[in-house]
């Protein structure tokens, strides 16, 4: 069990590329931290630096108050689960799990006992004598977990441990990992590119992009109060709708229709130096087909309806004007051709028809306002 502190941790490669830029984070004991972001954002590099597999160019890494920058991985007492599981193919499941204990010169009787415990915790007891090649993907994943938990390390590091599993097994293993972490209470740092995993697993999420931390906070906070365009576009599925808008004295003017200023927007205009052209962000789930008192509405032809059972997604054909902001690159907010389309997540009871007109309502208090040049969320106090 450990507290892990990253103080201005930076990774700069020999060719000058900056992979991680001044990463600051205090991880409390027992905490489950998720590092998430698009590929190449520096999340795996950060994990490898904590593991000791990559050098820290500058900054300090502290485990339980002790600076460990220059310590070899084996002296940091942390375990890691790899994306490929990295099981030793020439060892049986039992030998794989026992390997870290053997290296630590734990007495043989002790090793057997602890391997048994770990195996039963992960339902691996019947497979202890098998070689990894004869296991299914899910079983291999559990062996990798077993090897990590068997020596009760100070912390677990997990590098996209579920990305090689099929969708159903991934959901199952997600709960297994969550339960295991809660039972053991071991500090865990978990890297993923999947925002659903990030939202469901972590106590706190660290969202990264191009080596820079974008926002740190509990999942709900990142969803409700995204600090900038990138966070808003990355968290949530389907992604937030973005429309270009002009600030006029009466209302926000968009191609889809005017949005009256509610209390939230008025405060944003008062608190911040708002440029005349802004980007409006509305979550698909903020829309409804019933009229919202004092709310705004868009009316347009429905292009496509996706019925998901518990909900319906309506895509509108209206072109709302292209948004050119590189803050939104790498997020799911744009389809390939870059044309934004408005998506509404609607109650399954309503009946949108493709090709017909539909009016969707929303409250101006659910609208986020972003500065197109800085990407900052103007509706947030701390922006």
């Amino acid at each position: 069990m450990a507290e892990i502190v990253l103080n201005g941790v930076t990774k700069r490669y020999a060719d000058g590329t900056l992979a991680v830029d001044h990463f600051d984070l205090d991880i409390a004991d027992h905490e489950f931290i998720i590092l998430v972001g698009p590929s190449g954002c520096g999340k795996s590099t950060t994990l490898n630096m904590i593991a000791g597999l990559e050098d820290i160019s500058s900054g300090d890494l502290l485990i339980d108050g002790e600076r460990v920058n220059d310590k070899a991985p084996r002296d940091r007492d942390i375990a890691m689960v790899f994306q490929s599981y990295a099981l030793y193919p020439h060892m049986t499941v039992g030998e794989n799990i026992a390997f870290p204990l053997k290296l630590a010169k734990v007495p043989a009787a002790d090793i057997t006992k602890r391997v048994q415990e770990a195996a039963s915790m992960l339902d691996l007891t019947p497979y202890l004598d098998r070689k990894p090649a004869n296991l299914s993907g899910g079983q291999r994943q559990r062996v990798a977990m077993g090897r990590a938990i068997v020596r009760s390390p100070k912390a677990f590091l997990m590098d996209e441990p579920l990305s090689n599993l099929d969708a159903k097994l991934r959901v199952q293993m997600r709960t297994t990992i969550s339960r295991l972490q809660k039972n053991l209470g071991t500090t865990t740092i978990y890297v993923t590119h999947d925002q659903t995993e990030a939202m469901t697993l972590g106590d706190r999420i660290v969202l990264m992009r191009s080596g820079l931390v974008q926002q740190i906070g509990p999942p709900q906070e990142l969803y409700d109060h995204p600090r900038n365009l990138f966070v808003a576009g990355f968290i949530g599925s389907p992604a937030m709708n973005f429309l270009p808008a002009t600030v006029t004295p009466e209302a926000l003017r968009t191609d889809a229709g005017d949005i009256p200023y509610g209390t939230r927007l008025r405060r944003a205009l008062a608190d911040h130096d708002v440029p005349p052209e802004v980007i409006v962000g509305i979550r698909p789930e903020a829309f409804q087909t019933e009229e919202v008192p004092g709310g705004a509405s868009f009316t347009d032809t429905v292009d496509i309806v996706e019925s998901l059972g518990a909900e319906k997604l309506a895509y509108f054909s209206l072109s709302v004007g292209a948004i050119t902001s590189d803050h939104l690159a790498d997020t799911a907010a744009f389809d390939a051709d870059g044309q934004p389309q408005i998506v509404a997540r609607l109650d399954p009871a309503c009946d949108p028809r493709e090709g017909r007109e539909l009016t969707i309502w929303f409250s101006p208090d659910d609208v986020h306002l972003f500065d197109p040049s800085s990407g900052a969320n103007l509706t947030e106090q701390n922006a």
Binding site: R12, A14, G16, E54, D55, I56, S57, S58, D70
Partner: protein, 294 residues
């Protein structure tokens, strides 16, 4: 640029230490001899007349390059190289496809094919020699009486080429088979769905994808064929104008003890090999294996 970190420095040090012994041996056994060879080529150096040793500039090169024996050996070597590599490519490709596609006795075929590769070249060469020796040989006895193919220039060169092809085609086939394995089966299925015939699938899909493997195999076999020695030494020992460049360089050294001329030939052979390699790598774009980083 930040200073190099502790780990990177340790890695560099370990890498250098691990690579050092191999590098030192390779440089020591080839580096100095090459320089020495070049120096010898600029001298009159005949072990039979040691007192005549002197620096003579590029005179040896003039001697060799104006010698009809050298040019005959050069063209014979080139002919053997081109003909045998061409046959090896075609035969090797057929063999590779057979080994790759066959289901009946696949293990047997793949094993048997390794025998020519594994056999000592000199041993095989004696087999060929006796087979074509009148009276002794079963192949010679198929010829009209009184013909002794190994004592005539062209038939002898032909036999040398056959011996060379027999021995090295399996190696070529194995390299090409590895290239065949690189072509995804799905791509070939897609091509046949697009209406390609078997021949079209081979020429339009398989061959282009195999190009790197083919070029590497050709490069290595061409350079290997150019240094042909063992087969000729046993079959004719260079008689009837069947010498390769390696054979006459050897005879100048061991038979003639003429270090100056022998070294000059060594240098010329080295230059020729370098040109061949350059042509393959620059013009055909053969990628040197191992050139990519980790």
């Amino acid at each position: 640029m930040s200073a190099r970190t502790e780990g990177a420095r340790a890695e560099r040090k370990l890498g250098l230490w691990l690579a050092a012994p191999a590098a030192v041996i390779m440089v020591a056994v080839t580096g100095w001899p090459i320089v020495y060879s070049f120096l010898l080529s600029l001298q009159r150096a005949d072990l039979r007349f040691p007192e005549q040793q002197a620096w003579i500039g590029f005179e040896n090169y003039g001697t060799v390059l104006s010698s009809p024996y050298w040019w005959n050996a050069f063209w014979v070597t080139l002919l053997i190289t081109v003909v045998s590599v061409a046959f090896e490519l075609v035969l090797g490709m057929l063999l590779a496809i057979a080994m790759y596609r066959t289901l009946v006795g696949r293990g047997l075929v793949r094993t048997v094919v390794l025998i020519p590769y594994g056999i000592v070249t000199v041993a095989a060469a004696y087999g060929w020699k006796y087979a074509w020796t009148p009276g002794t040989g079963w192949l010679a006895n198929l010829l009209p009486d009184g013909t002794a193919p190994l004592t005539e220039q062209w038939p002898a060169i032909g036999i040398i080429i056959v011996a060379e092809i027999w021995k090295t085609t399996p190696f070529m086939a194995l390299l090409l088979m590895a290239g065949l394995a690189v072509v995804p089966e799905e791509l070939l299925r897609a091509a046949s769905m697009d209406g390609a015939t078997g021949w079209q699938r081979f020429t339009k899909v398989t061959l282009p994808l195999m190009k790197p493997a083919i070029l590497v195999a050709l490069l290595f076999r061409t350079l290997d064929a150019f240094r042909i020695f063992d087969n000729i030494y046993v079959l004719t020992n260079g008689a009837q104008n069947t010498s390769s460049v390696s054979i006459i360089a050897y005879h100048n050294l061991i038979g003639g003890l003429n270090l100056g001329i022998g070294s000059t030939m060594s240098v010329l052979i080295l230059i020729t090999v370098a040109i061949i390699a350059f042509v393959f790598i620059k013009i055909f774009g053969a990628s040197a294996p191992g050139s990519e980083r980790r």
